[in-house]
Amino acid sequence: METITKRYPSVIKEQAPLRPINSPVDLCMACGTCAAGCPLTGTKGFDPRKIVRLVLMGRDSELIDSKLPWLCTMCGKCEHACPMGINIANLIRAARGMVEREKVPGMIHKGVELGLKTGNNLGLPAEDFVFIIEDVGAELAETPGFSDFKIPVDKKGANLLHTLHNKLVNTQNEDLVHWWKIFHLAQEDWTIPSQNWEGVNWGLFSGDDDAMKTFIGRIVEHMEQLNISSLMYPE
């Protein structure tokens, strides 16, 4: 990865990595709006205004090397009120993307890698996945009113592709059924893919654009393969 914006001489900053999101960072008047609105201000020295200031000062590496970008949820409340329209959340995401991948904290990057490799962030094999959902589906079929319920896996020509949040598959199986109930009663023509069912794009979190594109590409691929017109994406 190229070094981040060298603030001075600033002519080259237009090509600098933290800039391409079309963020008018230069316009910052250090007014404090963002910092005042951010719930994280003060936590471990975090403050969106400081982030912008560091970038302005050409000290991006300090930002990238810190854990600050990982504390931020990129919720966008700061920029909601920013009088200069500075896109701080995108700045954060770009900064995350510039962190050496091994240094990405927690399981985000691991998840991304697993996802890229296996189609879901848990690294769950397809048979196991189908087993889990069919098991839950069978349970639902025992509930009154849902006796004819069956999970349509990889159904071609379905109207709706249903992707899943990995945590429902992993630990919170009981929450899988809500949508299924609705689909069932609404007599929806839907399907769940057995591969690449992951509905959460951790590339978004890690700042990894390539990974993000790959994930989305796969879903599009599915829809094309199965000839499905709409997508239900949990995030």
């Binding site: 949820t73 009120a81 009113g145 945590k167 949508w179 109930k181 009663l185 979190f205």
Partner: protein
């Protein structure tokens, strides 16, 4: 997702029993469906979930501020996956105060991250009994089955 639910309800493909939930419910706008969606797609999902709630629950309230200026629960942006747990709990304080002030027994969210985060921190903020439900979970709960 919101559009789908709205479509189901409006077209009558599913029918709901509004009398089932009688206690007070609060609704939380996730950043992604609001501000992010507004920024990326030019439409923030603020009205749709509220319309759905109107169909489901008689006593639901908004947090303040809500909509475009709402507080993030602290679980977004992948922070649930980072090891910075203390910071995340601290982050949630505003949101939790808001919820507490409404006196609601249940919080409805349409987002898995928010769901996870709020459930995880509710006890820390003295609301061990707060139920956190997905918006579609609420819908699923009150479906009228013929």
């Amino acid at each position: 997702m919101f559009d789908l639910l709205v479509d189901y309800i409006r077209s009558g493909r599913i029918r709901l029993d509004k009398t089932k939930i009688t206690h007070r419910v609060a609704y939380h706008d996730p950043c992604n469906y609001g501000r992010k969606s507004q920024e990326l797609f030019g439409h923030g999902y603020y009205e749709e979930p509220r319309w759905i709630l109107d169909q489901c629950i008689s006593d639901w309230v908004d947090l303040f501020p809500a909509g475009g200026n709402q507080y993030c629960c602290g679980g977004g942006g992948g922070t649930l996956l980072t090891p910075y747990r203390d910071e995340r709990i601290h982050y949630a304080r505003r949101k939790m105060e808001q919820i507490k002030r409404t006196g609601a027994k249940m919080l409805v969210v349409p987002c898995h991250s928010c769901h996870g985060q709020i459930k995880a921190v509710a006890e820390t903020y003295g609301m061990p009994d707060l139920r956190v439900k997905y918006l579609w979970e609420v819908v699923a709960d009150i479906l009228i089955i013929d």
